[in-house]
């Protein structure tokens, strides 16, 4: 259900932009491989009190907790191919190690507050649809919009517990072609992406949709 909704949004975006259906990009070659660094923003995962039951059935707080998945940098690699008009399909994978931080405070016996942490190994593997917006003739800049569906795997520090979920990305960016040639390696450039990641499950403590901003800078080559 969620994946179809993401694709629907991407399709609407393409229609509203009003580009000629037959247009192609001026990017050389059909295949692109990119490798780069990503930054993932912090995500608040929620708060919960550790409560004891009172004689009247109420709650007596033993301590309180508030948890977030901290911002972190990581690596991302993509491989894409031109599939139709201005649309390219990409497969991608990323790896990062965000700290899972739980602030523990308000202890009933006034123990000093602390932050309990562990490091999560986070793997994301998925596919994207990239739609190139019209660019000025001869320009080296190639703006695009993208939507992705991915599998999220988050491995806890002990490597004995994995949390999985489904992740979606919506965003866009721009590519700058540094060089192009007719044969062999047909082009190379840099790429910047800004996206919003949305996911369910994983290390989240509830069924709600989590979100965070993502920024990626990558180097690409085209064949």
């Amino acid at each position: 259900m969620r994946s179809s909704r993401v694709m629907w949004c991407a399709a609407v975006f393409m229609v509203l932009s009003g580009s000629p259906a037959s247009a192609q990009t001026d990017l050389p070659g059909r295949i692109e491989v990119s490798v780069g660094a990503q930054w993932l923003g912090e995500t608040a995962l929620g708060s919960k009190d550790a409560n004891l039951t009172t004689p009247t059935g109420g709650a007596l707080r033993l301590f309180s907790t508030s948890t977030s998945l901290a911002g972190v940098s990581g690596l991302e690699a993509r491989a894409g191919v031109h599939v139709w008009h201005r649309v390219h399909a990409e497969a991608f994978g990323s790896f990062s190690k965000p700290p899972l931080n739980t602030s523990v405070a308000n202890d009933y016996e006034s123990s000093p507050s602390t932050t309990a942490s562990e490091t999560i190994k986070q793997y994301i593997v998925g596919g994207s649809a990239v739609w190139y917006l019209p660019q000025s003739p001869g320009s080296r800049f190639f703006p695009f919009a993208s939507g992705s569906v991915a599998y999220l795997r988050q491995l806890h520090e002990s490597d004995t517990l994995a949390s999985t979920g489904r992740l979606y990305e919506l965003g866009g960016g721009i590519k700058y072609l540094l060089r192009s040639q007719a044969t062999g390696l047909k082009g190379a450039g840099v790429r910047g992406d800004v996206r919003v990641q949305l996911w369910k499950h994983g290390v989240a403590f509830d069924e709600g949709l989590q979100s965070r901003p993502t920024v990626v800078g990558a180097f690409f080559v085209r064949f």
């Binding site: 929620g46 919960k48 550790a50 409560n51 004891l52 039951t53 009172t54 004689p55 009247t56 059935g57 709650a59 007596l60 033993l62 301590f63 907790t65 948890t67 899972l100 739980t102 523990v104 202890d107 009933y108 016996e109 006034s110 123990s111 000093p112 507050s113 602390t114 932050t115 309990a116 942490s117 562990e118 806890h156 520090e157 002990s158 004995t160 517990l161 949390s163 290390v203 403590f205 509830d206």
Partner: protein, 331 residues
């Protein structure tokens, strides 16, 4: 065979060398520790035909204890089962091979609401008989909503049936000293907390995560194997300490499950945990008499500060967290 007396709720429980967390009871069989439990289920119990007090008929008593037994039976990760054998002329405490529940008058036990006693097979360590008496010196209620000034029979029965099944006390609670002596419970998150809520309360009619973990650890079903465990040591100045209370908190479920360090090396193991990262808190035993949990001859260390551990500990599906060292400091 030998009868081991365990007085529950309000005051003492004799715990002969606890074997593991929550607590479970342990018995010494031929020099080795054996967890005290029933070898076969369902466990047959009887109700004393003298089980009536003002406001509680024998039929009321049967109904209240049946509801309490049913709550333990309903734990999906535990295989414990009971069967009612009917009324008996026997009284609780008689060594007759029948497990009997009933009211008895013990005015000299002015802080004991009820108690559970065992007959244990010395050769195997298995339970042979377990009796529960409810002290008719107190006033009792079976009202659905509780009655002011009267103790809720179903709540107290639920606690005693935990003992009847082999569970010891849990320390998941906070108390304050009363002017007239004794302690008042401010909050508890285990039916097996050793001190009862005040008269009129029915808040202990529901099993908590700690109780469920304990009974499931004693009588596990296949589903229990999907739960995880946490183990490790509590140390002070590099030395293990006995009797430290280790509390785990799951932020996803809100569950609190706890155990104790049970050896002089400070080792603990808490089973029955939901998989996921846990917040860990370590505290000294200070909310009930230490002998509600440990034999007085044991060197329980309560001289350390509460610790909120600075690591999240991931508990896996059907496995153990790996050893965790929790370092506390003296008060």
């Amino acid at each position: 065979m030998t009868r081991v007396l365990a007085i529950a709720l309000t005051v003492l429980v004799s715990v002969p060398q606890p074997a593991a967390a929550y607590l479970k009871f342990g018995v010494n069989v031929g020099g080795r520790q054996v967890t005290l439990k029933w070898a076969q289920t369902p466990v047959r119990y009887f109700v004393s035909a003298r089980s009536s007090v003002p406001g509680v008929t024998v039929s009321d008593f049967e109904g209240a204890v049946a509801r309490a037994f049913a709550r333990w039976e309903a734990v999906p990760t535990s295989s414990i089962a009971y069967t009612y054998g009917g009324l008996t002329v026997a009284r609780p405490g008689e060594d007759d091979g029948s497990s009997t529940l009933g009211f008895e008058s013990h005015p000299e036990l002015d802080r004991v609401l009820a108690s559970t006693s065992f007959i244990v097979d010395r050769a195997t360590g298995a339970l042979v008989e377990s009796d529960i008496f409810f002290n008719s010196t107190f006033t009792w209620s079976i009202s659905a909503n509780g009655e002011s000034g009267k103790f809720d029979l179903e709540s107290i029965a639920l606690h005693e049936i935990g003992h009847f099944s082999g569970l010891g006390h849990s320390a998941l609670g906070e108390t304050e000293l009363r002017d007239g002596g004794g302690r008042r419970v401010l909050g508890a998150e285990a039916v097996m907390f050793p001190i009862a809520f005040a008269a009129g309360s029915i808040a202990s009619r529901t099993l908590k995560a700690d109780d469920i973990a304990g009974i499931s650890d004693l009588y596990p079903t296949g589903d229990f194997s999907q739960r995880g465990s946490m183990s490790g040591r509590v140390t002070k100045n590099g030395q293990g300490i006995l009797g430290a209370h280790v509390i785990t908190f799951d932020q996803a479920t809100g569950e609190l499950v706890a155990g104790f360090t049970l050896t002089s090396r400070g080792e603990f193991s808490i089973a029955g945990l939901s998989p996921g990262p846990k917040v860990v808190r370590v505290e000294p035993l200070d909310d009930a008499d230490i002998d509600s949990f440990f034999d007085v001859s044991q060197n329980v260390d309560a001289d350390f500060r509460v610790l909120l551990f600075n690591r999240l500990i991931a508990v896996p599906h059907g496995g153990d967290s790996g050893s965790v060292e929790l370092q506390v400091v003296a008060k």
